[in-house]
C-alpha cells in the first residue's frame, strides 16, 4: 500500500537489509494500480475457481496510504471477487497511526480488514528496535492501538501481534506483556538472517548453538502451563505439522508457497522476506499491468518454491524433522556460495525447538483422559418413555445437559483459539466465575439460550469467515453468573443494536443502534453499568435496565423471556418486548393453566415443575395456535399467547413433551441415524423425517391424554370447549397417534430403546380404545 514507514525499526527487512529497491518505488499505490491489482486478483480467482483469497495490505506502513486508498482497495477487491470468492483481507501495521484514531479503527472494522500489530513485548523489548525516526519510543502509541483494536467494538478485526525475537529480551516477560493485552493470536518471528549475515547467538558472555530455540522453549513451557490458551502460531504450526495436518505459516512445513507480493509500482515480486538475501532478490520482471498471476506462477523464482522436499538441500532431506521444518523460511537459507541450497541459518534452533515440542506432545496419549459417559437410570428412562418422568428423572436429564453444554463451551474455547478469536479477558472471566461461583455457573450453563448461543458461536467461528463478535455474549453470561453467585468483578461489554442482554437477569437498552461499550461492575449481586469513556461520541445515550419478566404459578416460577437475543430459535417469529398489559395477561393465563395442569394432568406436573424454565412469547396468528420447542433450548417453550388457560395448559404439556424427548435424544440413539427417509404423518401435509415422526408421536400421545381428561370432566372449562368438541379432539389425536406408532414400528429403524419408547406410547394410547364412551 505504501513504500515508506513512519517509524524506523533497526531490523526492518525492507529498509535495513541489502535490498534497497524501496528507494525507487512510488510512495503509494495509485488508484489505477489499485484497480489493476484488484482486477488481476479477481482474474486469477475466477480462472482457478478459488473459494477464498487472502490479501494482506502491507508496507512500509500501509496506513500511510490513507483512508481513501485503503477503502478503495477493499471495495475493488470485493467487487472483483464477487460473487463466488471470499475475501480474507488483512493489514499489518506498526500501530502508531491507530493509537488515537478511533475513526480509522472503525473504517478498518467496517471494511472487514483484520489488523495485525507488530509489538516485541514490554517497553524495554519494544524500544530495543522499534523506535521513531527521531529515536523516541513508540511503545505507548502501540499499546494504545492494541487496546483500541482489542476493545469489544473493534475486536472482530483484531488479528493479534507479530513479535520479533531478540535474545536480549527476557522471553517470559515478552510473552506475558503480549498476553496481558489479550490478543486473539501471537506469532514469534525468528530475526531475519542469512548465512551471509547470521543472527546474533551471544547470550551474556557465551555464544550458544541454538539460543533462539532456548528462548522459544522458555515461552513454550510457560504457554503450556497457561493451558496454551492464547494461540501462538509458531507452536501451533509445529504441533499441526507433527500431527500431519500441515503448517500454518510459510516459515515452516513443506507446503508450497502460494504468496506473491505486488509493490507500489505494480511490480509482482516473490516473498518480500527475500529482500534480506541480496539486492533485487524478490524481483521477477513482471507487473500487474502486463502479466497475470499465472505468468508469475510460472516464473522460476516461484517455481523453485513448489518442489517440496526435492527442492531442499541434502542436509535438510536427511533431517528427521524435515516434514515439520521444511527448511525454514526460504530467505533464511541464502548464502552467496550456494544460493538457497542450504539449511536455514536457524537450522540448529529449528531442530531443537521442533524436537522439544514433539517430545512434549508425545507425553500425552490422546484419549487416555477422556471422561466416562454419564449413566442414566433405566427407571428414569422408562418413566420418561412412558410419557411422564418424575422430578428425579428430569434433574438427571438436567445434569447431562450441564455436561453437554460445558463440552460445547470447551469446544468453543478450542475453536476460538484455533481460529484466532480467543480473548483472554473473556475466558479469564469464565474461569473466575466457574471457580468462585460453581453453582451459579452451572445454572447458567443450562439456561436454554446459552446452548443456542454457543452453537451459533461455534458456527460463526468457521474456518472461512470468523465472526468473533458472537463471543461477546460469553462476557454477558459471565456477568450473569457472577451476579447470581455473589462474585464481585468488572468487565467491559459491547452493546450492539441498542441493547445488551444479561442472560437470566435482564437487558440494558440504549437510545442508539450503533455499537457502544459498557463498563459493567458486579458488586454483591448488583450490576451497575456505564458507557466507557471511549464512547464520548455517544455521550447523550441513555441507559435503561429492564429486569427479565417472570410468571408465577403455585409452586412454579418461569421466565417470560422477551429480550434474550438467542430466543429466536423457535421457528415462528418472536414477539418483541412484552408490554406491562400483555405481561399481566400472560400472568393470569399462566397461573390458571398451571392450576389446571396440577389438578387435571397430575402425571405431567412433576417434570414440568423442575424442568420448565422459560416461555418465549411468539407472534400470534389470527387462525392458528402457535407453539414450538427448539431442540437445543432445554427447558424452554415458545408459545403465542392463547385466549384461554385451557389452551395454554395444552400447549405447555405438548411442548414440554418435546423438551423431554429432545433431551433423551441427546443421550441415546433411539433410531438409526442413517435412515433419511421421509414419512407420511397424519397431522401434517408434508412428509417428515423419522425424528420428527417420533417427536410428534410422543407429544401427541400427551395431547390425546389432555383431551381425554377434558372429556372425562363433568363441566366444560371456561365455556370455551364443549365436551362434544373435546371428544372430537380426543378421537382425532388418539387415532393419529396410533397410526404414527404403527409407522414407527414399521420403519424397522428404531433402536431397542427407541422401540421401547414407542411401545410404551402405543400401549398407553391403545388402552384408551377399550374405555366406555369411545
Amino acid at each position: 500500500m505504501h513504500s515508506r514507514c513512519d517509524i524506523a525499526c533497526t531490523y526492518c527487512y525492507v529498509y535495513e537489509h541489502v535490498d534497497q529497491s524501496w528507494r525507487s518505488r512510488p510512495l503509494s499505490l495509485t488508484d489505477d494500480t489499485i484497480d489493476r491489482i484488484a482486477w488481476r486478483i479477481g482474474e486469477h480467482a475466477h480462472a482457478h475457481r478459488l473459494d477464498s483469497v487472502r490479501v494482506v495490505l502491507h508496507g512500509g506502513e500501509p496506513l500511510l496510504a490513507g483512508r481513501a486508498r485503503i477503502s478503495r482497495m477493499a471495495s475493488r477487491l470485493r467487487s472483483e471477487l464477487a460473487p463466488s470468492t471470499t475475501l480474507d483481507l488483512r493489514l499489518q501495521t506498526n500501530g502508531v497511526l491507530l493509537a488515537d484514531d478511533e475513526a480509522l479503527c472503525r473504517l478498518l472494522v467496517d471494511e472487514g480488514i483484520t489488523v495485525g500489530i507488530s509489538l516485541d513485548g514490554d517497553r524495554v523489548a519494544n524500544d530495543r528496535h522499534r523506535l521513531s525516526r527521531s529515536g523516541s519510543s513508540t511503545f505507548d502509541q502501540v499499546i494504545r492501538a492494541a487496546k483500541r483494536m482489542g476493545a469489544p467494538r473493534n475486536r472482530t478485526s483484531f488479528a493479534g501481534f507479530l513479535c520479533t525475537i531478540d535474545l536480549d529480551n527476557d522471553p517470559v516477560a515478552a510473552y506475558e506483556a503480549l498476553v496481558d493485552l489479550d490478543p486473539p493470536r501471537i506469532d514469534f518471528l525468528l530475526p531475519h538472517a542469512t548465512w551471509e549475515n547470521p543472527p546474533p547467538r551471544q547470550v551474556g558472555l557465551d555464544v550458544v548453538p541454538a539460543p533462539y530455540a532456548d528462548w522459544l522453549i522458555r515461552v513454550f513451557e510457560r504457554w503450556t502451563r497457561d493451558g496454551a490458551s492464547t494461540p501462538i502460531r509458531v507452536f501451533d504450526s509445529i504441533k499441526s505439522a507433527l500431527a500431519g495436518r500441515g503448517s500454518l505459516t510459510e516459515a515452516l512445513g513443506t507446503e508450497p508457497s502460494d504468496l506473491a507480493v505486488v509493490e507500489t509500482d505494480g511490480t509482482i515480486e516473490q516473498a518480500d522476506s527475500l529482500k534480506i538475501a541480496y539486492d533485487g532478490a524478490p524481483a521477477t520482471g513482471l507487473d500487474v499491468f502486463s502479466h497475470s498471476f499465472d505468468e508469475a506462477y510460472a516464473h522460476e523464482g516461484f517455481a523453485a518454491r513448489r518442489v517440496d522436499q526435492d527442492g531442499l538441500c541434502t542436509t535438510c532431506r536427511q533431517c528427521p524433522v524435515v516434514e515439520v521444518c521444511g527448511g525454514g523460511l526460504y530467505a533464511h537459507r541464502y548464502s552467496s556460495a550456494n544460493g538457497f541450497d542450504n539449511p536455514s541459518v536457524h537450522c540448529a534452533d529449528l531442530l531443537k525447538l521442533i524436537t522439544h515440542v514433539d517430545a512434549s506432545v508425545r507425553e500425552v496419549v490422546p484419549g487416555t483422559t477422556e471422561p466416562k459417559p454419564h449413566g442414566f437410570q433405566l427407571s428414569h428412562f422408562e418413566a420418561i418413555a412412558a410419557g411422564f418422568g418424575g422430578e428425579e428423572a428430569i434433574l438427571a436429564l438436567r445434569e447431562t445437559a450441564e455436561s453437554g453444554n460445558l463440552n460445547v463451551l470447551a469446544m468453543l474455547l478450542k475453536k476460538a483459539r484455533d481460529v484466532g478469536a480467543y480473548s483472554r479477558v473473556t475466558w479469564d472471566a469464565v474461569d473466575e466465575v466457574e471457580a468462585r461461583a460453581p453453582d451459579a455457573f452451572k445454572s447458567l450453563l443450562t439456561h436454554p439460550y446459552v446452548r443456542v448461543w454457543a452453537d451459533r458461536a461455534l458456527d460463526g467461528l468457521g474456518s472461512d469467515s470468523v465472526d468473533s463478535s458472537a463471543l461477546d455474549h460469553l462476557r454477558a453470561i459471565a456477568v450473569a453468573a457472577a451476579a447470581r453467585g455473589g462474585v464481585n468483578f468488572e468487565l467491559n461489554l459491547a452493546a450492539r443494536g441498542g441493547s445488551l442482554c444479561i442472560p437470566t437477569l435482564g437487558t440494558y437498552s440504549l437510545n442508539t443502534k450503533s455499537i457502544a461499550e459498557l463498563a459493567l461492575r458486579v458488586d454483591s449481586g448488583i450490576i451497575t453499568a456505564n458507557l466507557t469513556s471511549d464512547e464520548g461520541d455517544a455521550g447523550g445515550d441513555q441507559l435503561t435496565w429492564r429486569p427479565r419478566r417472570i410468571l408465577e404459578g403455585d409452586g412454579l416460577t418461569v421466565a417470560l423471556e422477551d429480550t434474550d437475543p438467542y430466543r429466536d430459535c423457535h421457528q415462528w417469529p418472536i414477539e418483541p418486548l412484552v408490554s406491562d398489559q400483555e405481561a399481566a395477561a400472560w400472568q393470569r393465563l399462566f397461573h390458571q393453566a398451571w392450576q389446571i395442569i396440577e389438578r387435571d394432568h397430575t402425571d405431567y406436573a412433576p417434570a414440568m415443575r423442575v424442568g420448565l424454565s422459560t416461555i418465549v412469547p411468539l407472534t400470534r396468528s389470527a387462525t392458528h395456535q402457535r407453539s414450538a420447542t427448539a431442540r437445543k433450548a432445554f427447558g424452554s417453550v415458545g408459545i403465542a399467547r392463547p385466549d384461554t388457560a385451557d389452551e395454554l395448559a395444552l400447549l405447555l404439556i405438548h411442548e414440554f413433551q418435546h423438551v423431554k424427548l429432545g433431551a433423551l435424544l441427546d443421550l441415546f440413539d433411539l433410531f438409526d441415524p442413517s435412515d433419511t427417509r421421509l414419512y407420511d404423518v397424519s397431522w401434517r401435509d408434508d412428509k417428515r423425517p423419522l425424528e420428527a415422526l417420533l417427536q410428534g408421536t410422543y407429544a401427541h400421545a400427551a395431547v390425546t391424554d389432555v383431551w381425554r381428561a377434558r372429556l372425562l370432566r363433568d363441566e366444560p372449562p371456561d365455556g370455551s370447549v364443549s365436551a362434544r368438541t373435546a371428544g372430537e379432539h380426543y378421537v382425532f389425536w388418539r387415532d393419529r397417534t396410533l397410526q404414527a406408532v404403527d409407522v414407527l414400528i414399521g420403519s424397522k429403524s428404531l433402536t431397542p430403546l427407541g422401540e421401547r419408547l414407542v411401545e410404551l406410547t402405543g400401549e398407553r394410547v391403545s388402552r384408551w380404545l377399550d374405555e366406555p364412551g369411545d
Partner: protein
C-alpha cells in the same frame, strides 16, 4: 444403568476440558440432531 452418549464432565472446568480437546486435537461430536443431518424443530400449529 444405561450408558449415554454424553461425557460426564461433573467437576471438570471448561478450561480443563478445552485443554483436553486441544491436546488430543479432536473435535468431539456435538450430541444433537445436527450430526444426523436433520434439524427437526418440533412445532405445533394446530388448526383445529
Amino acid at each position: 444403568m444405561l450408558t449415554t452418549k454424553v461425557a460426564d464432565l461433573h467437576g471438570v472446568t471448561v478450561r480443563d476440558r478445552a485443554a483436553e480437546l486441544m491436546r488430543t486435537g479432536s473435535d468431539v461430536r456435538r450430541p444433537d440432531a445436527e450430526d444426523r443431518g436433520q434439524v427437526p424443530v418440533a412445532a405445533f400449529n394446530a388448526s383445529l
